[in-house]
């Protein structure tokens, strides 16, 4: 895990450079790629994109589709054949973790464009190498990977003022704050906390990466990446407990406002 506190300008970490399968946390770097393209004028947030469930594998170029049963978002599926705005797709990608929206955005931007953005931002510890549910690439061992440090720095880029336009930062923060899956980091925090975050979970990993805003305090960034045997449960409660421990550390155990 990795942590950075803007109140004291300090941070600490535990195995922050260890690589994990990214699961859906890879959508944070895709979000950066989208808004970097908007800031560069290559796209507008209102640009319309054809919603099509057909993508080409990063290995071999064979077409593949996202499985509707693994994607909870019906809004994006109901737009198949039609168009959606970039900002709508970005929101669905983060807020409900839509795999279809993610792949549509990767498709319109191109993997190389997003990778270029990550390099430009100086973000290490993030490897975006394929779209979501690209089984052929997965079978070939080509996966999206992240480290806790990599994701933490990605979130810091969203928060800090010098890398994106204020409009882009505001919109990214708004999207991340709208996250609907709240059983990880937010579950360990008092009601008054606001968290801009992205979760990720597959059979062997469960992650959460977020920016925590507490009342009358500078925010902190915390990234919790965990690995599990597929049969084990208790993942979200574990992340919530770690989140709670971080919260108690930064508030020095003095807050009893929940």
């Amino acid at each position: 895990m990795a942590f950075y506190d803007y109140a004291h300008r300090t941070g600490w970490s535990y195995q922050a450079d260890r690589w994990f399968h990214a699961a859906s946390t890879i959508k944070i770097p895709v979000l950066l790629g989208v808004f970097a393209a908007i800031d560069r004028g290559k796209l507008q947030s209102y640009s319309r994109v054809h919603v099509r469930n057909r993508f080409l594998s990063a290995v071999g170029g064979q077409p593949f589709r996202v499985d509707p049963d693994r994607d909870s978002n019906v809004d994006v599926y109901s737009a198949l054949g039609k168009t959606m705005q970039i900002r709508e797709l970005a929101r669905h990608m983060i807020v409900t973790s839509s795999n279809l929206a993610t792949n549509v955005l990767i498709d319109i931007l191109g993997l190389e464009e997003i990778q270029h953005t990550l390099r430009e931002l100086g973000l290490h510890g993030i490897e975006l190498r394929r779209g979501v549910e690209d089984i052929a690439a997965w079978e070939a061992g080509l996966n999206n990977r992240v480290t806790a440090a990599g994701l933490m720095n990605a979130l810091r880029v969203v928060l800090e003022e010098n890398r994106f336009s204020s409009d882009a930062r505001r919109e990214m923060m708004d999207i991340l704050h709208s996250q609907e899956f709240r059983s990880g980091i937010p579950a360990g925090l008092p009601e008054a906390a606001r968290v801009a975050h992205k979760t990720g979970e597959i059979s062997t990993v469960a992650h959460d990466a977020g920016i925590v805003h507490l009342p009358d305090r500078e925010p902190y960034v915390v990234v919790i990446l965990t690995e599990w045997k597929p049969e084990l449960g208790g993942r979200q409660s574990t992340i919530a407990r770690i989140s709670r421990a971080v919260y108690e550390y930064v508030t020095d155990g003095e807050r009893n406002d929940d």
């Binding site: 796209l43 640009s47 319309r48 994109v49 054809h50 919603v51 099509r52 469930n53 057909r54 064979q62 077409p63 589709r65 198949l80 054949g81 039609k82 168009t83 970039i86 319109i108």
Partner: protein
């Protein structure tokens, strides 16, 4: 706006323009009468006469047949050339023939026939057009949904493909498959590289 001839509003209330008369920003993308090579390398001559559409409202309210309206052939995304995403927009006159063919199909299936975004008219400047595609002639449609059925399986696509072949023997239907020149998530029908000069189109002013 170019010199335009208004045809009988009772027929089709859209100005017909000669793309040679358009300003450079549009002419350079529409490329009237230019040759564009198809996938096999054969040169095809791009259309010259277009309907001028001044607004999305006009597209929404312009019927081409009983069941098809102009907007259904104008849905494009950010990959379309930027000048052609802003009104006035231009659609080749062959779109009326395409709509007429689809109307035959529509009446046979007796339910909605939906044309996909980027699946009606696409200009030669559209990023999906690496070769001359009948989409640039306004004479091709990608159908992604018929009634409640999404065309996303071989069985469904083949079923409608066979029906289309019977109804419209002169039309070309892209074979089902995953490779180049095939389709696996829509039904592509086209009438070929059709050039249409409507009765009231401007005359040829070039020498």
């Amino acid at each position: 706006m170019a010199n335009a001839t208004m045809i009988d509003p009772a027929v089709l209330a859209l100005p017909i323009v000669d793309a040679f008369e358009l300003e450079e920003v549009h002419r350079s993308v529409l490329r009237p009468d230019e040759l564009m090579a198809d996938r096999a390398g054969r040169p095809r001559r791009l259309p010259r006469f277009f309907y001028e559409v001044d607004s999305w409202q006009t597209a929404l309210t312009t019927s081409l047949t009983e069941y098809f309206e102009l907007w259904e052939f104008m849905g494009v995304d950010v990959r379309e050339a930027q000048p052609l995403r802003i009104f006035p927009r231009y659609v080749p006159c062959a779109v009326t023939l395409l709509a007429t063919h689809l109307e035959v199909f529509r009446q046979a299936v007796n339910t909605y026939v939906r044309v996909a975004a980027n699946g009606g008219y696409r200009s030669p400047g559209h990023r999906l057009n690496q070769h001359a595609s009948p989409h640039c002639w306004g004479s091709a449609a990608n159908i992604y949904r018929i009634g409640d059925e999404h065309l996303d399986s071989e069985e469904i696509i083949q079923r409608y493909s066979r029906m289309l072949s019977r109804l419209l023997p002169g039309a070309w239907i892209r074979p089902y498959g995953h490779g180049i020149g095939m389709a696996d998530d829509h039904l592509h029908i086209d009438l070929g590289y059709v050039l249409v000069s409507p009765h009231d189109a401007p005359g040829d002013r070039r020498t």
